[in-house]
Symmetry: C2
Subunit: 226 residues, 2 copies
DNA sequence: CGAATGCTACGGTTTCGGCCGAACAGATCG
DNA sequence: CGATCTGTTCGGCCGAAACCGTAGCATTCG
């Protein structure tokens, strides 16, 4: 019975509100300092320090020392996927009171999800790609069609055939409750959108701003108006 | 900031040892009574009752009343996948002291994982299928090749092209630390093995017994000796 | 070299939640 | 209709852990 024990240990780590805030803040893949995370978690730096120690000891986070700062980031893609899957359950579990805040509204439009795009933007892209037969998505998997490979190449995406992350994966969007594109394909798509200057990161949030160029490009290439 | 809150709530539910035991006991997809779950969780029936109330209220479990018993089971495949992904992190997170017990040894050989096969058996099947080019597996996705479709048809599996679960999925095995077959294909493969009488469930555990017929069949069809 | 900054270590307080004993509600059976 | 079994509710106990204040160590800057 050693399995449930470690299961509970990891889940308990995520189960604390302050630590959940920290992990969510790191979900866009960037590395943040202990101070920034303390602000994100709404607790004092001392308390945050303790939490960060636990999270790194359990190898949920990586710590990177740089000068008098310490940068923390999600340790492995598995950890990010774990958090995603918990969120997928969390959003549809309780039909609870869920007030819409202003920040949430921006997040709902477009945001990063570890290394790919989510929100209305992410779901919209996935819809278009599905509708045109470039990809096929289901709740727990996905596939790029030959047409899709051609299209992605024309779009300027380099699909690396890595041994560890070949495939595209569906990730249930926790605001739209429908799948968006994740995995290697999702990451490449997001990279390309950043390179083209279609979207830009905003300060202090995972929400993304869609630039005018992005608006035009999305309409032209993907029939998409957000 | 409503997302991290619900994230923490769900994770905290899984984060209690007793509840983790309950969820693990239900991971093979069967429905168990409150009493059986109390035994599995190693706590009193009263305590278990409280835990079960919380889990069903959060829609992690389904409750089914039948006579004077109440049967509980995992509510949705998403919940099962969430638990799998947490375990995937849990096993590789701490290089901790991990004593090998006897029960664990049986589990390590062959067991069910929600609705598909895991352990040395599951990993071995995945290896063979990969090696022969019937499926391609990566850490976060998978694909059935045309040859694979033929082979599965010859093997007597009915691959339903359901809109919701088309694809095959890799599930990182927490004992072997390598992927085994999950998703619709994994479930169909497991079903076929049960139908052929190759494996049988054992009492009070998710471990599986491989029958003599199974041993022969696995060697003949899959070059596999467990 | 002192001062300021970023982070961590320690102690004490407080709150939260798991746990069991006892009592209660339905269902089944003789 | 009592006896028994399964499961739930209530009340009180107790331990674990989250939190902050104070203090201490490293790094950078004036």
């Amino acid at each position: 019975m050693t399995i449930p024990v470690s299961l509970a240990e990891v889940a308990a780590l995520v189960g604390d509100p302050a630590r959940a805030n920290i992990l969510c803040a790191l979900l866009d893949g960037r590395a943040l300092t202990a101070g920034e995370l303390a602000y994100a978690a709404n607790v004092s730096p001392q308390t945050t320090s303790g939490h960060l120690a636990k999270l790194t000891q359990a190898h949920l986070l990586d710590a990177l020392k740089q000068g008098r700062h310490r940068y923390f980031r999600i340790a492995t893609p598995q950890v990010a996927q774990m958090l995603e899957s918990i969120m997928a359950v969390a959003v549809q579990a309780p039909p609870r009171h869920r007030p819409v805040s202003k920040v949430d509204e921006a997040m709902r439009t477009a945001r990063t999800c570890y290394d790919h795009l989510a929100g209305r933007l992410g779901v919209g892209l996935a819809d278009t790609l599905c509708g045109r037969g470039h990809v096929v998505l289901a709740e727990d998997g996905g596939e790029v069609t030959p047409h899709g490979h051609d299209f992605f190449a024309r779009f300027g995406m380099r699909l690396v055939t890595d041994r560890r992350r070949i495939f595209c994966r569906a990730c249930v969007d926790w605001t739209e409750r429908r799948p968006h594109l994740a995995g290697a394909v999702g990451a490449a798509l997001a990279d390309r959108c950043f390179d083209l200057g279609w979207v830009k990161r905003m300060r202090d949030t995972r929400a993304l701003a869609i630039t005018p160029a992005g608006r035009a490009g999305l309409r032209e290439m993907f029939d998409l108006t957000i």
